[in-house]
Symmetry: C2
């Protein structure tokens, strides 16, 4: 099954030769995490007035705080909480953007245990409110990036719930997601995909 | 100067008798903080599929973490960081919503020191991206709530920077903001104002 843009246009995946060529680019990720790369992209979008998108702080339950002086507070006991939403959100040309970003060392598939049920539910609610939601996946071992629209994520999620495989194969990303080809600045220009899909 | 909706319609402030009457409502805030009240409103919007709006977690810099067992992590040293954005954001019928909420015990004015420069800058960027941004203020001592559109906040902020007063008088809220009249559910229905302003 071919993937189509919402406007009906057929999406043509990059050819294998182009994919191979990417490896020679001088603007490699230089050991950065996906989070660092997206932070760079968001900083680029912000300073160039293209979009206002931030990573949300990690939710932490604070239990004990010390005040060694009037102006400072030191948290002495706290716990990580499970996030109830996605990592990133913001606004791009009036459009609400909301996504989760994950990287995997797996070379052939993305394990769905990396995504939480409440995150899928949150993304579903966002789409119902006419927001734009997607999963951004980096296959770190092969240095490839994919933008998986939420409706496709939902389909693979439902397949798992129905007893099917608990991961999305790289080959399925090639067919049902849109590959982000790293470029100079920003390296991971995910809003270009949003543009292509929703222009 | 009268306040007008973006569509040119004149905004008519509630009469004093109506304001006084509000005091008799049985659905009082019962000692809740503004944050609790907005959490209630957002929960209402979420469960009724009206909007998906969350308070962002407080940004915390984690310095030291202990792992007493494989499955648990205890944060032993961490510090509060200054937020670079506003408290709340989300999506409402495709529109990006981004706002800051503050309460003051002051009976006659809202001190602008409660808002940070980088928050005003963030809200300005949001509005440039066609997002909807505003300041929600509760005058707790008199139990009154105001929705101050960002362009008005910007005007009072600029007045301060030009050497003018460092606060916004309650009387100025009455003239340039929109009062939110508490009702049953949700008590603080701020999206009604968004509706009125942007419908």
């Amino acid at each position: 099954m071919a993937i189509r843009y919402p406007n009906g246009k057929l999406y043509t995946p990059k050819k294998e030769t182009e994919t191979k060529k990417r490896k020679d680019y001088s603007f490699s990720n230089r050991g950065k995490t996906l989070e660092d790369e997206l932070s760079d992209a968001n900083e680029y979008y912000l300073t160039h007035e293209i979009a206002v998108i931030y990573k949300k702080p990690i939710p932490i339950q604070v239990v004990k705080v010390d005040y060694p002086s009037r102006s400072s507070a030191v948290i002495k006991e706290a716990y990580y909480r499970t996030p109830s939403t996605t990592d990133f959100n913001g606004v791009y040309e009036g459009k609400y953007i909301d996504f989760e970003a994950k990287e995997t060392e797996n070379r052939t598939a993305f394990p769905l245990k990396n995504v939480h049920l409440h995150q899928v539910e949150h993304m579903s609610k966002v789409v119902k409110q006419q927001g734009i939601s997607f999963l951004l996946v980096r296959f770190s071992a092969v240095d490839r990036y994919f933008y998986l629209p939420f409706d496709q994520l939902q389909r693979f999620w439902d397949r798992m719930l129905a007893g099917g495989r608990k991961s999305i194969a790289l080959a399925e990303f090639e067919e049902h997601a849109i590959e982000i080809m790293p470029k100079y600045a920003p390296r991971i220009d995910y809003l270009k995909i949003v543009n292509d899909l929703y222009a």
